[in-house]
Symmetry: C2
Subunit: 171 residues, 2 copies
C-alpha cells in the first residue's frame, strides 16, 4: 500500500480483536520506529512492548480507564530517555522525536493490517510505576496495537485552504 | 512505494536541485499533513509555504545560516496555533501533533521523489518576524522541500535490541 493510501486509511482504532499479533509484523512495526530520524540522530528512546494482560489492565487504568488499552493484545509504550534539552527554537526535542517514531509505527501497522490508537492522556507517574520506568525519563504516548474490530467512520478534517497559507502567515 | 520502503529511503536531504516542484506533488504533501491525527482532532495548525527566494534566504539566516534552507525551492513552516495546553501526561500536545503532520509530509515527499530535512534549530523570534506570525503561536520546524541532489550515505541507527524491551522497562 503506498504512503498516501496508508495515511488515508489510518484511523484511531478503539476496538480490537483478541487475536495474537505475529512476531514478524510486530518486528516490522518496531523497525519503523528504529529507523525514524531524531534530533542530532541521538535516538534517545526506548519502546516497551507489553503483552501481559494484567500489565495492560494496569496501563488502561493509568490511562484514565481507557478500556481499549487493556483489550488490545499489545501495548507499546514510547519512552524518552533525555527529555530535558530544548532545541534552539524552544521546542522540546524529545516530544518531536518520539512523535516521529510513533507515527512511523502507526503507519507501518496499517501496512500490516493492524490498528493503533494514540494515547496521550494518562498519568505519567502511574505508567512509570507500572513499568518500573525511572523518574528522569518521560513517557510520550501509549500505543495499543492489534487487529481492528471496528471500522471508524470517515476522518473529519479541515480543508487545505483553512490550514495552508503562502509566503506569509495569514489566518 | 510501500511504507516500509519509504521509511527506509527517507533521508535528511541537504543539497537540492533548483528545479521547480510541480503543484500536484506539493498538494499531495500538504494533504498528507492535513490528514494527520491530532489531540482531540483539534488540528490547531497552519503550514506556511514559502517559495520566494528572498524570504527563503531570511529563513536560512534565522536557522543559524543553514544554507540548504535557502537553496531548496520550497520551505514549509509548521506553526502550532495552540501551543499552551499539555496533555494529562504532561507532554505538550502541540509538539506531538505538529511532528506527526510533519512526519507525514516527509514520507509523502519520498513517494513523490522529493527530499526534505527536519530543521529544528532556528530562532523562534526571527522566523516569526520574517513570516509575520503572531507571538502567541509556535513554530515547530522548517521543512525545506525539493528534488534531492545528494545521496546521503546509509542511516546509522541503534539495533532493535538496544531500543526495545519487553513487559517492564530495562536499560
Amino acid at each position: 500500500m503506498d504512503v498516501s493510501q496508508v495515511i488515508k486509511t489510518r484511523r484511531s482504532v478503539r476496538i480490537y480483536k483478541p487475536d495474537f499479533v505475529p512476531e514478524q509484523n510486530l518486528k516490522k512495526i518496531l523497525d519503523a520506529a528504529r529507523l525514524a530520524p531524531s534530533a542530532h540522530n541521538e535516538q534517545e528512546w526506548k519502546f516497551v512492548v507489553v503483552k501481559d494482560a494484567k500489565t495492560r489492565k494496569k496501563l488502561a487504568e493509568a490511562a484514565h480507564n481507557q478500556d481499549h488499552v487493556a483489550e488490545a493484545p499489545i501495548v507499546i509504550i514510547a519512552v524518552a530517555l533525555n527529555p530535558e534539552p530544548k532545541l534552539s527554537s524552544g521546542v522540546p526535542a524529545y516530544a518531536v522525536d518520539l512523535a516521529i517514531a510513533l507515527d512511523h509505527m502507526t503507519l507501518q501497522a496499517v501496512e500490516e493490517g493492524l490498528g493503533t490508537c494514540w494515547i496521550g492522556a494518562f498519568s505519567q507517574e502511574e505508567v512509570k510505576k507500572v513499568l518500573e520506568i525511572p523518574e528522569r525519563y518521560k513517557v510520550v504516548a501509549l500505543l495499543p496495537l492489534g487487529f481492528p474490530m471496528d471500522k471508524p467512520g470517515p476522518k473529519t478534517r479541515k480543508s487545505l485552504k483553512e490550514i495552508v497559507c503562502y509566503e506569509k502567515f495569514s489566518n
